[in-house]
Amino acid sequence: MSARAAIPVLAAALPLTLVLSACSSAGAGTTGTDAAGHDTQRYDAMSHEELVAAAEEEGEVVVYSFTSRIATVAEEFRKEYPGIAITEHDIPSSEQIERLASEHAAGASTADVAYVSDAPVVVTQLIEEGVLLPYVPPRMDDVLPEEHKEPLVTNRLSTKVLMYNEEAHPDGAPVENLWELTSGAWEGRVVMVDPNGRGDYLDMVTEMVLRADEMDAAYQEWAGEPLQLDDGVENAGYQFLADLYANDVILVDSTDAVNEAVGATGQDNPPLGFTTYSDRRDNEDEGWALQVAGEVAPAPGIIFPAMLGVTADAQNPAAARLLIDFMMGDDSADGGPAYAPFYVPGDYPARSDLQDPEGALPREEFAAWPIDPEESAAVRGEVADFLLTIQ
C-alpha cells in the first residue's frame, strides 16, 4: 500500500476524530482552588454579615442534593439572596458519593455544598478522605445537639421503621415486639427493601446488631425465656435477622413497593413492613393506610441523619457556608420557608429549638434508635456479609 492510499482512510477517520475531539475547546476549563487550612478557618469564623458580603462577592453557589426538594429550597434562596446565583442538582446518594470522590481525585470542577444521606458511607469514603468538610453555622452552636454537629452538620432526621395498615388494624399495631415477626403468624407477611441493596436498610439491620442487648432483653420479654443462639450466631441481633429471613421475609426493591404492599387499602390480611415514617403523609394521595408501629419493643427501627457538608475544593467557600446556614432554617418555630420542604410529619428537625411537625409522634415519644454513622460504618460490612450467608 502506498502513502497515497492512506489519505482516504484518514479522511474516513476524520469525522470520527471530529466528533470525538473538536469540541474540546468547549471545556469548562475551571480548575479547583485549594481550600487551604487557614482559609477554611477564616470562613468558618465569619459572622453572618461577613459571610453574606463574601458570598455576594463570589456571586454563585452549586449544590448536589440527594432529594429533589432542593428545587424549593433554591427558589427560597433566590428570593433571599438575589445577588447569588444558585445551581441545584439532584443526584442520589450513592452516585453523589462516587461523583464527589471522583471529582476530588481528578481535580475537576465540583459542587460547593453536598446534601447527602447514607451517613456511614459518607464517613468512610468522603470525610476520612477529606472530600467533605464540616461547617457548623455559629448561630447553631447552642441549638444543635453535639451528635448533629459531627461528622457533618445534620439538618433533619429521616426514618426506617415498622409500619402497619391502620384500616385493617384500627385498634393499633398488631404486634408489640419485633420478635413476633419471626413467628408463624407473620411467616411471609413482613416486607422490606433488600438490605443487601439499599444503604438505609442495611443501616437499620446493622443497628439491630449493635443493639444486641436490647434485642436479647426483648426476646426474654416476648418468649418468657432466655434466647438460645444458633451455632455460629454471635448475638441476639444476628439471631433476629436469621430468624426473620427463615420466616420468609419478603424483599422488594423500593420503599414505594413496601408502602404499596403494607398500606394499600381494601386488604383483608395486609403484611407489615419497614419503611419511611414520613411517607404516611401520602396516605390520602395514594390510597394508603400506613401507620407507624411506634410502641413496638425494643424499638420500631432507626432514625438517621441527612447531612450538609462543604466540598474541599469549593469554588465559593463563603456562599457554600451561607447556603448551609440557610438550609438549617430561620428563627421561627418551624424553621420558616427555607426549611419548609423538610418540615413534614414523620421527619424530625435536628435543631432542638424547632417544634416537631404536627401529625406524627413527638420525638421524645418516638423510640426509634438514632444511628451513630461511625459505629455503624465499622460493622455494617460484617452484617451485610452475614445476610449473604443466611438466604
Binding site: 500500500m1 502513502a3 489519505i7 482516504p8 482512510v9 474516513a12 477517520a13 470520527l16 466528533v19 470525538l20 469540541c23 474540546s24 475547546s25 471545556g27 469548562a28 476549563g29 452549586v62 429533589s68 445551581t87 442538582h89 439532584d90 450513592s94 452516585e95 462516587e98 461523583r99 471522583s102 471529582e103 481525585a105 481528578a106 475537576a108 470542577s109 411471609g188 407477611r189 416486607v191 438490605p195 443487601n196 444503604g199 442495611l202 419478603i250 424483599l251 426493591d253 404499596e260 403494607v262 398500606g263 394499600a264 381494601g266 386488604q267 395486609p270 403484611p271 401520602d282 394521595d285 395514594e286 390510597g287 455494617r380 460490612g381 451485610a384 456479609d385 449473604l388 450467608t389 438466604q391
Partner: protein
C-alpha cells in the same frame, strides 16, 4: 526495518485499526482498567484491598453472592437471547417476506418495546399477574379471583419473559435489515427445487442471515445479563438474585470494590459467550449482496395466513399495546397504580395544587421540559452519529485485518460496555476528562462528555449491526473496486456504506433509542445546564411522583418512536421496494 514498519503503518487497514483501537482504548479499555485496578491491592499496583476476590469466589458468602446469581443470570440471559432471536426473527420474516395485511404497521409497532424502559414492561406484567405474595393490590387475574402461582408472578419466568418482550424488538430490527437484503433469486432458486415455504424460510433464509442472528443473540444476551430493573422488580420477592442485582446492591450499600469484582466476572462471562458465538460462525461466507440485485419475492401464505397473522398480532398486543396502555393509563389515574380513585389529566397539564403530589404541577407545565427534550434529541443524534462511525470503522477493520489480536481486541471492547456499571464508567470519565491533564481535553461539565459516555455505552449496537450488515456484502464487489483503482476510503464510502445502509441505519436507531431511553450513567455526568428527559424521570420517580415519571417516560417513548419511523423512512428510501 524502519521501512517495513513505516510500510505497515501506512497500510490503510492497519492505520484504521490503530485509530479504532485508540478510541476504544480511551472509551472502553481505560474504564475497564480502572475497574480492575480498583479491585487489586495497593501493593500490587491497584487502589483497592484485594480481599473482594476471595469474598466473592471462595468464602461462606460465595454461594448467595456469586454462584447462584451467576446461574440465574445465565439462565435469564440465555432465555432472553434465544427467545428474542426466535420471536424477532419470526416477526422480521413476517414483515419482510409474507403477504399478510398490515405488516407495515407491525414493522413500526415491533420496534416500540425497545423504546420503552424495562421497568414499564415489568410494571405491565405485575398489573396482570401480581399475586398476594407481597401484599397490596392484586393484578388483573387476581382481582378476577384467579390464583396466580408464584412461579408466574415472580422470579425466573416473569423476569425472562419481560426481558424478551423488551429485547425481541432489538432482534427484529437487526434481522429484518438482513432479511431485506436477501435477493429474490436465492429464494426463487430454492422454491424451484420444490421445497416448501417453511423449509425455504428455515433452511435458506435463516442460515443466510446467520451473522444477524448471531449479533441479535449476542446483544440480547448482554442486555439480559446486565439488566437490573426487571430482576429487581420481579425477582427479589422470591429472592431471585442475578449478578446485576448483586453488583448494584454491593455498590449502593457502599461496597464498591465487591461490586466491581462482580462486574469483572460478568465481563468474563460475556467474553466467553462472544468467543463461542464467533467460533460458531467462523470461516463461513454469508455474502448475499453480490452485485446482481433482485427484488425479494413475497411468500403467499395461503392456509398459514390466519395462524401467522394471529401469532404476529398477539405478540404485538402483548409486548407493545398492553405495556403502552398500562403506562398511559398510569399517567391518568388519580392514584398511582389504582383505577378505583378515578382519572385526571392533572399530571400532564394541571397547575400546582398543594393537595396533589406536594404541589408538583403537570409535566407539560414544566419549563425545563422543552429544553430537556431538545437536549435529549441532540444528545441521541450526536451519539448515534459518533457510535455508528466508530462501529462501522471497527467492523471494517475486523473484516479486513488478519491479526487475531487486533480483531479480537476490537470485537471484545465493542461488546462489553453494557457490562461495565454506569457508575464505574461515569467515574472513569471524570478521571479521564475531569481536569484536562495529559493529552485528553477537559470536557467535564460540557455536553461533549455526555456524547462520549453515550458512545462508549452504546457502541455494542453500532458495532454488531455494522458487522452483521457488512458480512452480507460480497468481497468480490470490493475486490472489483480495488482492481478499478478505488482506494479504501472510496470503497467504504461508495460500496460498503450504501450496501449496508439498511443495517447501519437500524444500528443508529438502536443507539439513539438507548441514549434517549435511559442511561443511568448520565446521572453521574449530567450538569444542571444540560437537563435530560431520562434524568427528569428519575427526579420524579425518586420523590414517588409515579404519574409524573410515567408521563415523561411516555414522552421519551414518543421521541423514540418518531426517530424509529424516520429511520424506517430512510431505510425505505434506499430500497423503495421493501416495506
Amino acid at each position: 526495518m524502519t521501512s517495513r514498519w513505516s510500510r505497515a503503518l501506512l497500510n490503510p487497514v492497519t492505520l484504521l485499526a490503530l485509530v479504532v483501537l485508540l478510541v476504544l482504548g480511551v472509551l472502553v479499555a481505560a474504564p475497564l482498567a480502572g475497574l480492575i485496578g480498583a479491585t487489586v491491592p495497593a501493593g500490587a499496583g491497584g487502589t483497592g484491598t484485594g480481599t473482594s476476590w476471595r469474598d466473592v469466589l471462595a468464602s461462606p458468602m460465595s454461594q448467595n453472592l456469586f454462584w447462584t446469581p451467576l446461574r440465574n443470570s445465565i439462565l435469564v440471559a440465555l432465555g432472553t437471547a434465544v427467545l428474542s432471536t426466535v420471536l424477532g426473527g419470526f416477526l422480521a420474516w413476517v414483515v419482510v417476506f409474507s403477504d399478510i395485511p398490515g405488516k407495515r404497521l407491525i414493522g413500526v409497532l415491533a420496534t416500540i418495546p425497545f423504546a420503552l424502559p424495562s421497568f414499564a414492561l415489568a410494571l405491565a406484567w405485575t398489573s396482570v399477574f401480581r399475586n398476594d405474595r407481597v401484599g397490596g393490590t392484586p393484578g388483573l387475574l387476581g382481582s378476577l379471583g384467579i390464583q396466580v402461582p408464584d412461579v408466574l408472578a415472580w422470579g425466573a419466568v416473569p423476569v425472562t419473559l419481560t426481558l424478551v418482550a423488551h429485547y425481541f424488538s432489538l432482534s427484529f430490527v437487526i434481522i429484518a435489515a438482513a432479511l431485506a437484503s436477501l435477493g429474490g433469486d436465492l429464494i426463487a432458486a430454492a422454491e424451484l427445487t420444490g421445497a416448501s415455504r417453511l423449509r425455504v424460510a428455515v433452511r435458506i433464509a435463516l442460515p443466510a442471515v446467520s451473522p444477524a442472528l448471531l449479533s441479535s443473540f449476542l446483544l440480547a444476551f448482554a442486555e439480559g445479563v446486565s439488566n437490573f430493573a426487571s430482576p429487581a422488580l420481579l425477582g427479589l420477592p422470591v429472592r431471585f438474585q442475578t449478578l446485576s442485582t448483586r453488583l448494584y446492591g454491593a455498590i449502593s450499600t457502599g461496597d464498591t470494590e465487591r461490586g466491581y469484582v462482580l462486574s469483572i466476572l460478568l465481563v468474563a462471562v460475556a467474553a466467553v459467550v462472544l468467543y463461542l458465538g464467533n467460533r460458531a460462525t467462523r470461516g463461513r461466507n454469508f455474502a448475499v449482496i453480490t452485485g446482481k440485485s433482485s427484488r425479494p419475492r413475497l411468500v403467499r401464505l395461503r392456509a398459514w395466513r390466519l395462524p401467522v397473522l394471529t401469532l404476529a398480532w398477539a405478540l404485538i398486543a402483548a409486548t407493545t399495546l398492553l405495556p403502552m396502555a398500562v403506562l398511559a393509563m398510569s399517567t391518568l389515574t388519580r392514584r398511582a397504580n389504582s383505577f378505583d380513585a378515578g382519572f385526571t389529566l392533572h399530571y400532564w397539564i394541571g397547575a400546582s395544587d398543594p393537595g396533589i403530589s406536594h404541589g408538583m404541577a403537570g409535566v407539560l407545565r414544566d419549563a425545563a421540559l422543552t429544553t430537556a427534550t431538545g437536549n435529549t434529541v441532540a444528545l441521541g443524534a450526536c451519539v448515534a452519529l459518533g457510535a455508528v462511525l466508530l462501529g462501522m470503522l471497527g467492523a471494517y477493520v475486523v473484516r479486513r485485518h488478519r491479526g487475531p489480536f487486533v480483531t479480537g481486541g476490537i470485537g471484545f471492547l465493542s461488546y462489553v460496555p453494557f457490562l461495565i456499571p454506569g457508575i464505574a464508567l461515569g467515574a472513569a470519565f471524570i478521571a479521564l476528562f475531569g481536569s484536562g491533564a495529559g493529552p485528553l481535553p477537559s470536557l467535564y461539565g460540557t455536553f461533549w462528555i455526555l456524547v462520549l459516555a453515550g458512545i462508549a455505552a452504546s457502541i455494542p449496537y453500532a458495532f454488531q449491526t455494522a458487522k452483521s450488515s457488512l458480512g452480507q456484502v460480497s468481497y468480490e464487489l470490493e475486490e472489483a473496486a480495488t482492481l478499478a483503482g478505488a482506494g479504501t476510503g472510496r470503497r467504504i464510502g461508495r460500496i460498503l456504506l450504501p450496501l449496508s445502509a439498511r443495517g447501519v441505519v437500524g444500528g443508529a436507531m438502536l443507539v439513539f433509542v438507548t441514549v434517549v431511553r435511559d442511561l443511568s450513567l448520565m446521572v453521574l455526568l449530567v450538569t444542571p445546564a444540560t437537563p435530560l428527559l431520562a434524568v427528569q424521570t428519575f427526579r420524579y420517580a425518586s420523590e414517588g411522583f409515579t404519574q409524573h415519571a410515567n408521563a415523561v417516560t411516555l414522552i421519551i417513548a414518543a421521541v423514540s418512536v418518531t426517530a424509529t419511523i424516520l429511520a424506517r423512512r430512510l431505510q425505505g428510501a434506499r430500497r423503495p421496494w421493501n416495506a
